[in-house]
């Protein structure tokens, strides 16, 4: 029963309440009043996504007679507010986590475009108290960005399974994330598919809150930051060798997954295969491998072991 052993000691926390599905936004007024908040400040991205989410948000607050100031993430918070609702992906959520005083309720309104950090604790910052995902507030479909988010979530969940002694609490969240991703097929831009992605990204953020990012996630983020490629392109290129390396060393967490769904590796690669086309990831795969290899093969900082492990698998694959 080696595969069910746990770490000697572990700390785990989910944190936020998650409200997901049609009408999820309509729960916001009640959740504000439960926390005795009446004057929310909406912080939103200064783009089309932010505009969509904010419009939907304002209308549901208005129905309950709640008025809210709204600002873009670059602006200063007004003095008179007793709660913050951050709308949109990435930087706006991080900004809200930095700005919100500990005693002030912080809500996140998210769509299917996420970087898989929003719903969780982000590098030591607080987590939101509640996360709302409502397809009614999603902007018209941008399939490529949805697929980018889904691939990021896939990398986070897969990498958490690398731990041989994965804790059952963490495993349960990973399993939920992978299930949402699997349900998201065929990635046709339908609302159901996009909602699955949004839920999977939220699950991945909770995974990230409780488990350090692995090599693929870190490499993908570094390549993304260097503007070399999208996270999803890097994840799509690096996930197959990662999964292969997990199979080669008979990764026991992958075996747990396999007990539930047949073949854990095939399950993950299946999701990946479904995402390749909408994300448009295939074309530059060899470039990405090359770039990642050159950039990270000498890395001695983080993940050095994992990265070398990953690239030796890529290398073996290339030679065979």
């Amino acid at each position: 029963m080696k595969e069910l052993m746990q770490e000697k000691s572990m700390a785990f926390r989910i944190g936020p309440s998650l409200f997901s599905g049609w009408k999820a936004l309509s729960h916001i007024p009640f959740e504000l009043s439960r926390r005795r908040a009446q004057h929310p400040c909406i912080l939103h991205r200064d783009d089309e996504e932010g505009a969509y989410l904010t419009r939907a948000l304002r209308s549901c607050l208005k129905q309950e007679g709640i008025s809210a100031v709204s600002l873009t993430e670059a602006m200063e918070l007004p003095g008179e507010h007793d709660s913050i609702i951050a709308a949109g992906r990435g930087s706006v959520q991080r900004r809200a986590k930095q700005l919100a005083a500990p005693e002030i309720p912080l809500f996140s309104v998210l769509s299917d475009i996420q970087d898989c950090r929003e719903a969780g604790r982000d590098e030591g910052l607080r987590h939101p108290d509640a996360v709302f995902i409502d397809p009614a507030s999603f902007q018209p479909c941008i399939t490529k960005l949805t697929a980018d988010s889904a691939l990021t979530a896939l990398a986070v969940c897969t990498e958490a399974l690398q731990q041989d002694r994965i804790h059952s609490l963490l495993y349960s969240i990973v399993r939920t994330g992978l299930k949402f991703l699997h349900q998201g097929a065929p990635w046709d831009g339908s609302m159901e598919s996009r909602l699955c992605t949004a839920n999977a990204c939220a699950a991945a953020a909770l995974v990230r809150s409780n488990s350090p990012p692995g090599a693929v996630t870190s490499v993908s983020e570094a390549l993304h930051a260097s503007a070399f490629c999208l996270r999803s392109e890097a994840s799509a290129a690096l996930l197959p060798p990662l999964v292969q390396a997990m199979v080669n060393r008979q990764c026991s967490s992958l075996e747990i997954l396999s007990r539930e769904i047949g073949n854990g590796a095939a399950y993950i690669l299946d999701i990946l295969e479904g995402l390749r086309k909408p994300s448009g990831c295939d074309a530059r795969q060899s470039d990405i491998l090359h770039f990642a290899f050159n950039t990270f093969q000498t890395s001695k900082k983080n993940h050095a072991g994992q990265i070398l492990d990953l690239f030796s698998t890529i290398d073996e694959g290339a030679q065979s």
């Binding site: 029963m1 069910l4 998650l18 409200f19 997901s20 059952s168 349960s172 939920t176 299930k179 539930e260």
Partner: protein, 420 residues
Amino acid sequence: MTSGEFFQFTSPQRTEAGLQALDRLPNLLRSLGLSKPLLITDMGVRKAGLTELISSILQASGGMRFADEFDSVPPDSDTGTIADLARYWHAGTFDCLLALGGGSVIDTAKAGNILISTGKDDLYQFQGYDNIPGPLKPLIVIPTTAGTGSEATSVSVIKDAERHRKLAFCSPWLVPTAAVLDPRMTMTLSKAITAATGMDALAHAVESYIGLAKNPFSDSFALRAVELISKFLPVSLKAPHDREARLQMLTASHLAGIAFSNSMVSLVHTIGHCAGAVCGIPHGVCMGILLPEALRFNLHRSASHIGEMLLPLAGRDISLAVPREEHPERFILALKEFRQHIHELSENTLPLRFCDIRDSMDSPVMTPEHMILIAREAAGDPSRFYNPEDISEAEIHAVLKASYWGYSLDQDLVKKGHQK
């Protein structure tokens, strides 16, 4: 659940788990800015030396200690105990509650925290769903049984001393601030308690997975709990000092607690709570006895969900050998086989039928009159609304009677397939 359907999932507490998890208690308290805990426990826990162990861990970490101890929680705590606890708190200076014990101690701490934090002395106004006005005082829970999962739930159930019934409180504010799962706390449990509390955890997981408020998150927690219980409850009984098995059972109970705190429990608990209140039968024992026939009652409504639990309970070989359409029935059979196995490993201390539970005069503890009363009470219990199928008083009586004698529920007695 179909994609797009609304769901809500909450699990705010911190969890510290591990073979030596309690060693991290001092740091946990410090990180929460707490230094004056009021320990809430019972005499059994004290006699087992568990308070001493925690006291020494705190002492070793810069001389921390309990600010005071309230150790008079009875096995079946009631409104009187809650009032005593609140008075005790207000007479001292504390900054948090530290509950060390099983379900009764934890539920007492939770309900006591309502009076402590609101400053009120009447519990009745807070009963039911979401009637607690705001955040409560920090509550750290160290469970000493692996079954109730109460350290992870938004629920507290206590006895109403005046009206002789159960009072239930359900609010997200009731979820404890943190839980510490350390197998040193459960290693000395008797086989009878290990078995019964294990069946309670199994009932939480199973009922969560078939309940009307289930969601994809609670599902993953429930399925994992079923698998862990299937593997580690037998080990905990065969080798009570196996720390890994004890830790896995604490984890399973915690997972099942998170699951049912989100999806609620249904028929097994509806009847079980009333049977416990009327006849004084331990909660876990009621769960083990009622599970198979309560599931059979729901079979036509929840077949696919019941079938999906065959794999984690019975393993891959059985799951692959049985045609998929037979998985639901096979799960109920596997559940009975598992229960029989636990009964034997517990040296026959886990009763399999109500008729086998006898008092000191060798008379059945549950009489036919009791069954009528239990069915009536259960029919009025709000938890039945979470059951996949509507159930009448007569049908509850039928499930109870089948569980009393240990026969299979007559399918002609139950409804078939109308939409709820």
